[in-house]
Amino acid sequence: MKFTQVFKAVATAGALALMMVGSASAVTLNLGNGGEPGSLDPHKVSGDWENRIVGEYLEGLVAEDIKADPIPGQAESWTISDDGTVYTFKLRADAKWSDGVDVTAQNFVDAFQRLFDPKTAAEYAYLQFPIKNSTKIAAGEITDFSQLGVKAIDDKTLEITLEASTPYFLQALTHYTAYPIRKDIIEKFGDQWTQPGNIVGNGPYNITEWVPGSYVKAVKSDTYYDAADLKIDEIMFENTEDLTAALNRYRAGELDILTDFPSDQYQLLKDQYPGQAHVAPFLGVYYYVMNQSKPPLNDVNIRKALSISVMRDVIGPDVLGTGELPAYGWVPPGTGNYDGAAYAPAWSTEPYEQRVEEAKALMAAAGYTPEKPLKLQLRYNTNDNHQRIAVAISDMWKQIGVEVELFNAETAVHYDALNAGDFQVGRAGWLLDYNDPSNTLDLLKTGVKGTDGVVNWGNNYGRYSNAKYDELMNQASSELDLVKRAGLMHQAEALAMDDFASIPIYWYVSKNVVSPKITGFEDNAKDINRIRWMTKSE
């Protein structure tokens, strides 16, 4: 053999080997996912970091598009009855579970029955409470699950009946509480059904590894109806509880996407990695609750003084550094089903000095001055950002005659105190579960008296109560006309805010860092970015 022949042979073999390596090397997306998933069971999870994983291995009737708006998922089409209460879904013929079994309407019936089963104790079951008889089943008042408004007409046809028309119901169906489950798998493996090896899904990716504290790995599912279009072969959901370390990993190229970053690193990201830090409006409000069940904060004038003397414009840009927008109302801008002008009180446009003077006058009328201040305790859950804001606001309040005692506690203790009404002013935040104003406005409804005589205030920690407000919200919930419904809720929002039911401080933003290698990541108000729309280039 001549040298050139040998050379050719070697070169060909080498090229072949390279091609094989090239075709075999999978495209892996390394996602800095934040916290450790407590569960992968759609009826037990509650965090956005869990949603990011669960929403890749399971898919509901309705899925999320690149902007997180609803599109057909496991259902290829649906019809809605004229009164808006009966939804009939036609499932895809090619919808399959990862073990090859067909997805049937019964899978959804099983899932909804399990969701509302009191034994499941699903935290987020209330999101699907528009479904007929769901509330009663969850409360244990109905034990015959067949009375639930979810019925399988045949293998591929599902009918869902609602208590009343609910304009955001399709939105709610994108939530993980509406994902199907495999009853046979859960019965076979019990609590262990979500472990790799046992777990079965119907979404674009399958869970193959779960190392607690480190990562969850998912690989493309060949049985997914859209598998041919998936550009990412594997996803590594990396635990990135330490945000600074996560940013270091991103900078070294180990992570392609970060789902959060330390606010104080925003400038560095803008300078050194231009265009990679995505800060976008996010449906959520950061606020202070005031306990209105006892003096002094049952006095609307004191609440007003506290609210108008908060200089909101400096919180986002200066105190936090990530440019969150000031909040004066209760429904985040960009929320769906909410036509009409955003609530903006007259005082919000007044010069700050004028507001402070007005606040001083209100406090003085109530008998408090900087010399003889009102003593208030401000509670927050231990966190650098909450602390910075609390310090800044207590300084703003000092000038109007309020002496603030700061009190921080770990999250469980903090919310325990808020729930029990054992506080004066407390920090809270609300991220919308679905894109509808009722999701935040419901927070201010009067508590409901339970069978045991105890009033359950739910998430209305401040115990704001106004019969007119409750009435407006009730009217809105049965109003079929979306524009009229929005009008009623605008009235309710204005009423509560004019009552100073709480102190909204800023609208949340989502904070992602996305490598230029990634396409198909579009900022949206829900901060949900499904990986089936993404591509990664080397």
């Binding site: 037990k44 499941t120 079951a125 472990q195 480190s214 990993r249 900078r251």
Partner: protein, 307 residues
Amino acid sequence: MIAYAFRRVLSAIPIVFLTITVCFFILRLAPGGPFDGERALPANVLKNLRAHYNLDQPILTQFFIYVGGVLQGDFGPSMVMEDFTVSRLLSIGLPFTLMLGFTAFIVGTIAGLVAGALAAVNQNRWPDYLLVFVVLIPLIIPNFLMANLAQLIFGVYLGWLPVGGYRPGSYINLVMPIIILAMPHGARVARLVRGSMIEVLGTNYIRTARSKGLGAALILTRHAIKPALLPVVSYLGPGLSYLLTGSLVVEQIFALPGIGKYFITAALNRDYGLVLGTTILYVFIILALNLIVDVLYAWLDPKVRLN
């Protein structure tokens, strides 16, 4: 010696029981519970959850249910990591924490011994000054800051080592965490060795050895090392248990699957089962290490053996 060890093991039983009891009740006394989070749970959901975890029972009943479970090797469910039992979480994380801790222990101890001995024989000369200064650094700078600096320098700027993460079978990912974990331990060992070695080198019998013409190396290996090690050995037990229980920061920063972080996060989350499980495990580790140190001590020092 065996009878001595056996007596020590027996005396550990009441200690473990006492730990379980104290921990169990202190946890329940702390305000807040495992289901207090950013959102209030609907009353009936809360009721069902509490029933599921026996939290609706009188506290004494809960205690006996728990102790009964532990006696059968069942540490109960985790209330926050809902898809796992406590036993399973510990069995996944423990081998990793042990591996990380022991490796850091060996690396740190050897480095500390060498550095301390070098400093002692060069007392008050430049290698001594240099080592004393270097050894101070990991004792002054907290390890989360050290870890971040190391990530920036060796991971981001130089690109020599992975910044974080864990892949089964990939040892390169463990180099940085092990060194970070080993540094404060090595520094303490070095300081102890230096101090006791200087003391030993100044004693009469070393002077005798020197005066009868023995070489410096021989004096060091034959006469100085063993007595100089005594204070080090008594530190090694607590040092190792500190490494095994103190891996929280390193595990969290490098996203490693150990149990160190459960110690803190489970307590913050009021995950009663996981806190107790981790604590019991650590009590066992610490008791076992103390026993080993005492036996080693007896071997090193005839005075202890005779008493």
